[in-house]
């Protein structure tokens, strides 16, 4: 019985009788496809130099009982076929199968036939090409746990750089209180599973807490009904945390439309009709970012934006009063909470950045010296 991931060799070569050319196959191998979920074998071959350009290879799978199944007919120059790829049913796991590789000319006449030794497809439990990601994630998670542990011990003081846009949130809500106008909170246009929408929901809780304290109406228009449900719960939580559950207004949390520009028109309508004193645009935005920000500017609102979407940041920076850029946006909820265990995660992210910068410098030096192994270690298999 053959076990393991890679066993193959050409075991027989037949050159078709009467063939005009001596084209042949060599190095024919069948290996379990690495880093996959099983039921897949990769067959490779090489052709001799005199193989016609229009020659093709017919690949057939032969199971233990001798049943032959055609897998593919591909140009000979392709040099490999994955049996069990792109939705095609591959060989069963842990069952020996062999492959017959037939080199054919344009008329379909056989030029050479090679059979491989039996091979078994096996599923893998770990993707080896992603070991580097696991190591880096492990290091970062270790830093996070260490800093959370230190925060829980109460022995560490965390200095957090001042984030002007977050500090300005109080100012903006205060302005809304004085003007007697509502606060608008737009949590981006992505679904709730998007990490930027999640970050927006975390900040929303703090904003809802503050608006409840100041008795300012809060409007949260959402693009998807799932975000509506989460935003509703988060605002209710914020109001309760402020000790003002009565400040929760279900009418303020609105579903507008799933269509991007219909949503955009709906939010613009709210800005122009309600004239909110403060607009928060926090989450993932696309083409609508500037339309919101410019409409808000025209309505005279103080505007605070935050996103990790690099293409939209320039628009927000140009049109809003304050902008949370990339990581600042993710740090905002921890910054607002002042909870040491949350703040400690920001320190872990800073340490990880130091490691990244050191890795970048090391990579630049080694690459300049012609050594690419360090750089190659960071490449991630698809």
């Amino acid at each position: 019985m053959i076990r393991g991931a890679a066993v193959a060799a050409a075991c027989s070569v037949l050159v078709a009788a009467g063939s005009a050319t001596a084209a042949s196959l060599s190095d024919v191998t069948a290996k379990d496809t690495p880093n996959d979920g099983g039921r897949s074998v990769t067959v490779t071959w090489e052709t001799s130099a005199d193989t016609p350009a229009d020659a093709s290879v017919r690949l057939e799978r032969v199971d233990a009982s001798g049943v032959v199944t055609e897998i593919a007919v591909v140009p000979a120059s392709q040099a490999h076929v994955v049996d069990g790829s792109s939705g095609q049913e591959g060989p069963p796991d842990r069952t020996p199968v062999s492959y017959q590789v037939t080199l054919e000319d344009a008329s379909g006449a056989s030029l050479a036939v090679v059979s491989t030794d039996p091979i078994m497809a096996l599923p893998q439990f770990f993707h080896r090409g992603r070991l580097n990601v696991l190591v880096m994630l492990g290091v970062f998670t270790g830093l996070l746990f260490y800093n959370i542990w230190r925060a829980n011990q109460g022995t560490s003081h965390f200095y957090i750089r001042r984030l002007a846009p977050v500090d300005a949130m109080d100012e903006a809500i205060g302005r809304a209180t004085e003007m007697g106008r509502p606060v608008l909170y737009v949590p981006g246009i992505e679904e709730v599973q998007d990490i930027q929408t999640i970050a927006a929901m975390l900040i929303l809780e703090r904003v809802a807490e503050k608006t409840a304290n100041y008795e300012v109406p809060l409007t949260v228009p959402t693009r998807t009904p799932f975000v509506l449900a989460v935003a509703d719960e988060v605002v209710r939580t914020g109001c309760t945390a402020a000790g003002r559950p009565d400040a929760y207004r279900p009418d303020g949390i609105r579903y507008i439309s799933n269509e991007q520009f219909a949503y955009c028109a709906g939010v613009n309508g709210i800005i122009l009709r309600d004239r909110p004193a403060a607009n928060f645009y926090l989450g993932r935005f696309f083409a609508e970012s500037l339309i919101f920000a410019e409409t808000g500017f025209a309505a005279g609102s103080i505007q605070i934006a935050g996103t990790a979407e690099v293409t939209q940041l320039p628009f927000f920076i140009a049109a809003c009063d304050y902008t949370l850029i990339g990581e600042e946006f993710f740090a905002a909820s921890a910054y607002l909470s002042r909870d040491p265990s949350l703040l400690s995660t920001l320190r872990a992210a800073d340490w990880a950045k130091v490691i990244l910068v050191l890795a970048l410098l090391t990579g630049a030096v080694l690459e300049s010296l012609g050594m690419s192994a360090f750089r190659d270690w960071f490449s991630v298999a698809g």
């Binding site: 994630l137 999640i198 988060v234 955009c264 083409a287 990581e327 993710f330 920001l346 992210a349």
Partner: protein, 214 residues
């Protein structure tokens, strides 16, 4: 219990999704795919919630007879009309009333909203490029160089065969070196922030969506 169970569900689902990146095994993939299917089903049900929210809000406005009632009537009428056409008429063919309304009413309206961007970019650029500070002067200078490098008249004034590659060469350098470096720095910081936020949620340190509290 009220918070522990949702947190446990968040933790298990989050951990499974992270594992999915590292574990190619068919059984694991089947579990995560099943979970994602459940997610899709839940999303489908939330549309009922969304519609209920829209009806509730706008019927209240109509009942109150507020100044915005007319907009609400148009919105509810359009929504019910499109739904009725989609349900009771053929909505596949190019000439079906549903597709016709979509192509001739919704599409142009959507394109109009998108087209507004051109005007908003101009007004935002005007404000951003006013040279009020050193940073604004730098921004303005870079923007002028990039614009000149992008348009034919820039190449006519200072062509690509000239010193430094002319305006097109300078534009390429600004885009490929300082601009790209800044973008990558933002992306790296954002990636760390995203991972950090994800872990905070999975570990239950952030629990606004669970009703808050410790």
């Amino acid at each position: 219990m009220k918070r522990a169970v949702p947190w446990l569900l968040t933790f298990v689902a989050g951990a499974l999704m992270i594992n999915d990146f590292f574990v190619p095994h068919r059984t694991h993939a089947a579990i995560t795919q099943e979970l994602q299917q459940w997610g899709l089903i839940v999303v489908a049900f939330t549309y009922v919630l969304g519609m209920a929210n829209v009806f509730d809000l706008h019927f209240k406005k109509i009942r109150r007879g507020s100044s915005e009632a007319l907009y609400s009537i148009v919105l509810v009428g359009s929504m019910l009309g499109m739904a009725a056409l989609g349900i009771f008429h053929d909505h596949q063919g190019e000439h079906s009333p549903f597709i016709w309304l979509y192509n001739t009413v919704y599409d142009p309206l959507s394109a109009t909203m998108f087209a507004l961007l051109a005007f908003f970019i101009t007004s935002a650029a005007y404000r951003a490029f006013r040279a009020r500070s050193t940073e604004a002067v730098l921004l303005l200078s870079a923007a002028i160089l990039v614009m000149l490098g992008q348009v034919p008249v820039g190449a006519a004034i200072w062509g690509p065969d000239s010193f430094l590659g002319g305006f097109p060469g300078l534009k390429d350098w600004i885009m490929d070196v300082p601009n790209l470096a800044g973008k990558r720095a933002i992306l790296m910081g954002a990636a760390l922030g995203a991972i950090s936020t994800g872990i905070r949620v999975i570990l239950g340190l952030e629990r606004a969506h669970l009703g808050g509290g410790k």
